[in-house]
Structures are given as structure tokens and as C-alpha cells.
């Protein structure tokens, strides 16, 4: 699959409309200039040779230069990837905590207000245009109430001494700079985009947890545990949740992969300098190299996360492990 992804990413550059040499040289370019530039970039060589070079360079972390800004794509990606990972991780943590709690509350009190809230969130969450939700929350919490900033990762003017080496700002604020104020500043900026990005996975996790818990709570062994006089909390926590959360935990991996796609919209609304924003800018400018590199990296992430999710099935579910040994 990774080979297929690398071929598709390579061919993407060929499929994009426009000539990259014309973009680099501008409107004044002559045919000779363009031919010479094409030779310099290696675009006049056979496609298989270009592909082998592309894979070789990509494995060494070299994705070439943007045709539009002439910036090194790898250097840009080193800042952009951690920004998206930080946002997606925060969104996933929020979605898991809120989704699982809501799903469990709804299942242990069916037809209660919690059940109604869970169903409402599950339905509206998956139907919500997140760019709209982002705008509304931005206007309310950043505009009217002034509780959070409008966008960006941190206030650069206020923290000029912050020169992070990696793109993982929160990690650096805690472990390198040991600054609670800076950590708070970063979390302050992260809160709203993470919440918006968490909406869809939260809705799906809440719905799945509710359905899975209702199914498990209806099983004979739960009835037996209750009949033996076990209190409600241990029945739910020790017996029902352990089995009901198996499909939920494994689905979290898949959701994490989809967050990488959802980040495209969230990063645009909150001016978050991550991969999603980078892809959109590259598409609008028809800038081949950044687009090619971003697609390759996001798809590789996505495949690896799906692989880890598949592996986690057998680790989390003892029945599958047992069947595997047999």
C-alpha cells in the first residue's frame, strides 16, 4: 500500500495542470529558459527514473522546493506536521473523554435527559459543517466574550523569547522551557480549534459507546452479576465497560486518521499553521511539491494508524488473541 501511495503522490505532480517551470520563471520566461529549467529540475528524464529519484529523496526527507515560494518543503513540514499532530491529539483526547462519558451516561440511564443529550449530540455532531461551528464559536468565545484568541498557535509578539527547536510547542513549553505561563498560553490557543475538530469524532464515539454498552448491559452475565447483589457501579465499570469499550477503543484509531482530513477545514478557520492549511494553500496556488509531500505524508500516517488499529484488535480483545493462538 505504501508503494502505491508513493506512486500516486509522484504521479500527482504530473497530473496537476500548469507547467512548474513557467511558475518558477514567471511570465517573461522563454522556451529556452524553460527547457533549461526543466533539465535542471530533472523533469525531462523518463518517468521511472524520476520516480526512483523521488522515492530516494523522500526517504532521506528531501521533498524539494516549493515552485511558488522557493521554500524548502521539508523545513516547512517540520513545523507543520507537529502543529497538526498536536491539534489532532488534543481533539482526540477531548472527543474520547466527552464521547465515552456521554455514551456511558446515556446507556446506564436510557430515555433520561443524558440519553437525549447523547442522541442529540450524536446526530447534530455528524451533520454539523465544522467550518460553521468554528465560526460561531469563534464569534462567541473569541469575539463577544473575549475568552480565547481568534486563531494562531500563540501570541508571537508576547513570547518573543520562545524559539522552539521542534514543532511540538506544548511539549517544549513543559519540558524545555518549564514555563507554566507559556503552556497556558499555548493551551489557550489550542482549546477552541481542538474542540471544533473533536465534534465529529465525539459524536461517533458517543453513539458507538451507547450502542455497545446497551448491548452488553442486556447480556446474561450482567444480569447474573446484578442477581448476585453486585452494586450498579462495579457492574458497569468492571463488567460492562471492559467489554463494551473494545470496539470503541479500536474505532478511536480510525477516527484519528480521519482527523487528519478534518484538520484541513479547522486549520483554515483558526489560521492554524498545520498540514491542512499547507495543503489548501498548495492546491489554491497549484504548488506541486508541497502538495505531493503533504499527500504522501498524510496517507502514510493514515495507513500506519489503520495498521496499528488492526493490530490493537488482537491486543485489546482477549477472544481474538485466544483464537489466534489456536
Amino acid at each position: 500500500m505504501l508503494i502505491a501511495i508513493s506512486i500516486a503522490s509522484f504521479l500527482l505532480l504530473q497530473a496537476l495542470p500548469g507547467d512548474p517551470t513557467a511558475a518558477l520563471l514567471g511570465q517573461q520566461a522563454t522556451e529556452e529558459n524553460m527547457a533549461s529549467m526543466r533539465h535542471e529540475l530533472g523533469l525531462d528524464r523518463p518517468l521511472p527514473v524520476q520516480y526512483i529519484d523521488f522515492v530516494g529523496d523522500a526517504l532521506q526527507g528531501d521533498f524539494g522546493r516549493s515552485y511558488f515560494t522557493n521554500q524548502d518543503v521539508s523545513t516547512e513540514l517540520k513545523q507543520r506536521i507537529p502543529a497538526t499532530v498536536e491539534l489532532a491529539l488534543a481533539a482526540m483526547i477531548l472527543a474520547t473523554i466527552m464521547g465515552v462519558s456521554l455514551g456511558i451516561l446515556a446507556s446506564i440511564k436510557p430515555r433520561s435527559i443524558w440519553d437525549f443529550i447523547c442522541l442529540f449530540i450524536a446526530l447534530t455532531g455528524v451533520s454539523m459543517p465544522i467550518f460553521w461551528l468554528g465560526f460561531l464559536l469563534q464569534q462567541l468565545f473569541a469575539g463577544d466574550m473575549g475568552l480565547v484568541p481568534f486563531g494562531g498557535r500563540f501570541n508571537e509578539a508576547g513570547w518573543q523569547g520562545f524559539q522552539p527547536e521542534t514543532g511540538f510547542y506544548i511539549y517544549e513549553a513543559i519540558f524545555t522551557y518549564h514555563s507554566p505561563a507559556l503552556t497556558f498560553e499555548l493551551l489557550h490557543h489550542l482549546a477552541l480549534p481542538a474542540f471544533v475538530l473533536a465534534t465529529v469524532p465525539m459524536a461517533l464515539i458517543a453513539r458507538m459507546t451507547r450502542a455497545s454498552m446497551l448491548e452488553v448491559l442486556d447480556q446474561d452475565y450482567i444480569r447474573t452479576a446484578r442477581a448476585k447483589g453486585l452494586a450498579s457501579t462495579p457492574v458497569v465499570v468492571r463488567h460492562a465497560m471492559r467489554n463494551a469499550l473494545i470496539p470503541v477503543i479500536t474505532s478511536i484509531g480510525t477516527q484519528f486518521g480521519y482527523l487528519l482530513g478534518g484538520a484541513v477545514l479547522t486549520e483554515t478557520i483558526f489560521n492554524w499553521p498545520g498540514m491542512g492549511r499547507y495543503v489548501v494553500d498548495a492546491v489554491i496556488r497549484l504548488d506541486g511539491k508541497p502538495l505531493q509531500a503533504s499527500v504522501l505524508i498524510i496517507a502514510t500516517f493514515f495507513v500506519l494508524i489503520n495498521l496499528l488499529t488492526d493490530i490493537s484488535y488482537s491486543i485489546i480483545d482477549p477472544r481474538l488473541r485466544h483464537r489466534g493462538r489456536k
Binding site: I5, L12, P17, F131
Partner: protein, 278 residues
């Protein structure tokens, strides 16, 4: 079958809400020229972002167009794009899935590897890349969203074809000497349609969201086209005055997607014997 579903619908409150929401949007889309005196691309006044009044029910937008007429004509554009994209996904996925499921062996292997490959990209990102290749326009959004949606249909159709082709009546048809094409088209595929209708209903909702999202990112071509994502984007560009415009366009998208999701869930419940018994 339709009478059976209508009977089920009478008892299923969320699906009723879904049907009402969809009918409202279809009603607005079909009767757009009757509902409003203004065309979606006819500038009415230079009083940009004018407040709602008796002559302009939702006021004017940032370009001086009547917002109500843009919204009702937007229902037409949005529904058309989503419907075409879903039909494209259904046809493409249907061909891929029925080929894989019925032919089996290397065809199955090849088609399913293509499906796996397409599903190895986050779908929205794949649609963004497709638009980059095809060019920015509403028609290309149909192609991008349709192609991206095809793998889901392919998987579902393959699973259904595998189930149906193992049934005795298909074996009888084969024993009678019917051609593979005849068995597939006349006997197998018609019996695979019901779960596809559920998937298509839910697919309409996600197609509307994807199209609006792509248009919002500026990949929808002409920004003056009456499409809800583009209307939302135009309001978003001037957040201090365009908040109402963003609110209205977003609420329309949410309501329509919610309608399709509620109806899709209702159809799924109707098809699931366990839910029907409850």
C-alpha cells in the same frame, strides 16, 4: 414495500423529522422562482449587508444580492450537486463492487486493492486533491465528491453480491443457462438495492457537507454561484457584518444534512429486523 415503509415511518419520529426537513429543502429548490422575485445573481442594491425587511426577508448579502433568493436557489444547486455526486458514487461503486463480488478471483483482488488504496487517504483530503487536478468549478466538485464516495458503495455492493449469488435461485438461473450478465443485472443486483438506498441517503448528507466544505475552501469556482458553502464563505470573509449570512447558510446545510441522516437512520432501522421487532 413502500406501504410497509410508510407504516414504519408513522411510528418512527426521527425519520418523520428527516422527511419534513428534506421536503422543505426540495420544496424551496423546486419552487425557487415562485418563492422569490429576485434572481440569485441579480444585484438588488448597493446597501451591502442590509438588514431583513418586508421586501428582502433575509436582507442583502455582501455583494448586494437578495439573501433569501440566494438561499432558495442555493438549495437547488446544493441538492443537484449532492444528488449527482451520490449517483456517481453509487454507479462507480456499484460497477466496481458487482464486478468484484460476482467475478471473484483476480478481478475481485484487483478491484478491492483499488478500493483499499482509495480508502487509504482521508476522504476529504482526497477530494481536495481531486479538485486540484480537475480544476476549480462546481461541476468538478461533483466528480471529486462522487469518485471519493465510490469505495464505500463498492464494499457494500460486493458484500451484498457475495451474499445473494450464493442463494439457490441464482444457482437455478445458472442451471437454466442464463448468461452471467443477465443473472447479475436481472437477478442479483435488484436484490442488493435496499441496503444501497440506506447508504445513498446517508451519502447525500456527507456529499452536501463535502461540497460545502470544498466550496468554503475556495475550490468551488465562481464565488457568485448560489451555493450554500460559497454563500457561507462570502459572509465569513467579512465576519463583523456577515455573521447573519454565515448563520443562515450554515443552518441550511445543518438542517438538510440532519434530514438525510435522520431518514437514513430510519431506513436502516426499518431494514434491521431486530429494531423492527422492538
Amino acid at each position: 414495500m413502500i406501504r410497509d415503509f410508510l407504516g414504519f415511518l408513522r411510528k418512527h419520529r426521527p425519520a418523520q423529522v428527516g422527511v419534513v426537513l428534506i421536503l422543505l429543502v426540495v420544496f424551496a429548490a423546486v419552487l425557487a422562482p415562485v418563492l422569490t422575485d429576485y434572481g440569485p445573481k441579480d444585484p438588488v442594491s448597493y446597501n451591502f449587508f442590509e438588514d431583513p425587511s418586508s421586501s428582502h426577508w433575509l436582507g442583502l448579502d455582501g455583494q448586494g444580492y437578495d439573501l433569501f433568493s440566494r438561499i432558495v436557489y442555493g438549495a437547488r444547486t446544493t441538492l443537484r450537486i449532492a444528488l449527482l455526486a451520490t449517483l456517481l458514487a453509487m454507479c462507480l461503486g456499484g460497477v466496481m463492487g458487482s464486478l468484484a463480488g460476482y467475478a471473484g478471483r483476480w478481478i475481485d483482488l484487483t478491484v478491492m486493492r483499488v478500493v483499499d488504496f482509495m480508502m487509504s487517504f482521508p476522504s476529504f483530503l482526497l477530494a481536495v486533491v481531486m479538485v486540484a487536478i480537475l480544476g476549480k468549478s462546481l461541476d468538478n466538485l461533483v466528480l471529486a465528491v462522487g469518485i471519493v464516495g465510490a469505495p464505500l458503495f463498492a464494499r457494500q455492493v460486493r458484500a451484498e453480491v457475495l451474499r445473494v449469488k450464493a442463494l439457490e435461485y441464482v444457482e437455478s438461473a445458472r442451471a437454466l443457462g442464463y448468461s452471467n450478465l443477465r443473472i447479475l443485472l436481472c437477478h442479483v443486483l435488484p436484490n442488493c438495492l435496499t441496503p444501497l438506498i440506506v447508504l445513498a441517503t446517508l451519502g447525500m448528507g456527507s456529499a452536501i457537507l463535502d461540497v460545502a466544505g470544498l466550496a468554503f475552501l475556495g475550490l468551488g469556482g465562481d464565488p457568485f454561484d448560489p451555493e450554500w458553502g460559497l454563500i457561507l464563505k462570502a459572509g465569513w470573509n467579512s465576519p463583523s457584518k456577515g455573521a447573519f449570512q454565515v448563520g443562515v447558510a450554515g443552518a441550511c446545510i445543518l438542517g438538510t444534512v440532519l434530514g438525510f441522516n435522520l431518514l437514513g437512520d430510519g431506513l436502516r432501522d426499518w431494514l434491521d429486523p431486530r429494531t423492527r421487532l422492538k
